[in-house]
Subunit: 269 residues, 2 copies
Amino acid sequence: MSEPTARGSDHVQSLARGLAVIRAFNASRPELTLSEVARETNLTRAAARRFLHTLVDLGYVRTDGRLFALTPRILELGYAYLSSLSLPEVAQPHLERLVAEVQESASVALLDDVDVVYVARVATSRIMRVTINIGTRFPAHATSMGRVLLAGLAPGDLDAYLERVELRPFTQHTVTSEPTLRGELDRVRNQGWAYVDQELEEGLRSIAAPIRNSGGRVVAAVNMSSHASRTSLESARRDLLPQLLAAAARIEADLIAMSTAEAGPALSR
Amino acid sequence: MSEPTARGSDHVQSLARGLAVIRAFNASRPELTLSEVARETNLTRAAARRFLHTLVDLGYVRTDGRLFALTPRILELGYAYLSSLSLPEVAQPHLERLVAEVQESASVALLDDVDVVYVARVATSRIMRVTINIGTRFPAHATSMGRVLLAGLAPGDLDAYLERVELRPFTQHTVTSEPTLRGELDRVRNQGWAYVDQELEEGLRSIAAPIRNSGGRVVAAVNMSSHASRTSLESARRDLLPQLLAAAARIEADLIAMSTAEAGPALSR
């Protein structure tokens, strides 16, 4: 349903361009001049100025006259979504327990188009820490949570995904062939978990399990990730998998215990 | 600098209205019909339809034809800001250690206009859990982190805050008089921490400490909150404060260790 459609006369170009101005800011470009915003967004300087000043009026951007930067108020746009989900709040204490038990970082993600999107996370030590925030996106095909979420799609939805996705390689290990990925997803569906070994980044391994709603449909995934030097498939299976599956079961039980009336849109759709 | 200015000819109304459509969705209204969006935003149905369809085109909203809801992609707008801050990532492991030590929830917030905005949080048990996410805003005057942040303002900035803020009561304990608040802030500035007893919500107490940059300016606050039945001022001071101040010092040391070149906009301004 979230698949972009052809842009007709209903498309409000000013809104699209204003959102592109917001996205021009990121970790490597936290402060931008007017010229830099214009260049990043392919807008004229005059247009970029109007959008920036509108965002300053609304409190989403601040400026010292030369440099522009986002303000914390911008979080309210994503907060509207996060607060509409029961999942992050339900999952958080279970992730904390899981991290305390096995001392590896744990996360929960949803599928959005061809990506997984993190909606909850508890990280462990700062050494070899993977930089992931709420809202971080990774391509589903190269991640353990993505494999679990893709394996849970209805056959027609999986076909649609495979038609529109580009199975890009990120390391020499990334699965980039459709038949291989389909075989991998069959295996994940049968065994009830996914293990991905350095397909997104060299040195990064992760293991994921599905979170199902009361109807048995996969609505989210929970994973643990760690550096390859610490975790082989055998050790992940022995030391992490039992606790991971237990955490997934506890999250599922809590989600089902909350009435479906309380479940957010990403769970009830 | 983020204070709204008069809205001149530079103001792009379509962008402002589109962002209002995004904000129409929240926890109590995760799914809305076209009519509901029009009502919430004071737009005509025709205008609301154009904004919603643009957001669907861009992947920020999904629809089944009747109901509309935000998608996880909306998080990318806040993510641009979060990823531009070093603070949440630096603070997270220290919050985790703090929570493990004292078994109460811990958070980090920034001041934005008259509110505190949460940018990092580690929560503890689910019983009596306060529902707070990244991006949650509370009025600064009624919160411990707000008191610490206000106490750290330059005198002119504090005067400007007091001119524009409405010191609303949330409980019978909320400080609503300017002289009392000024006296409270003097005390916080001198003692180096703030304790707030049920001023935001009955039953909720919290204690906060400032996080300073290398120049000694207060750039953020860290707090621990708990139910009033578990924490008196005396027990907070004895059992929580030493660890809280130690966590603040560790976060400061890490922030200063990262070169100022790496510090995000909210820290360098």
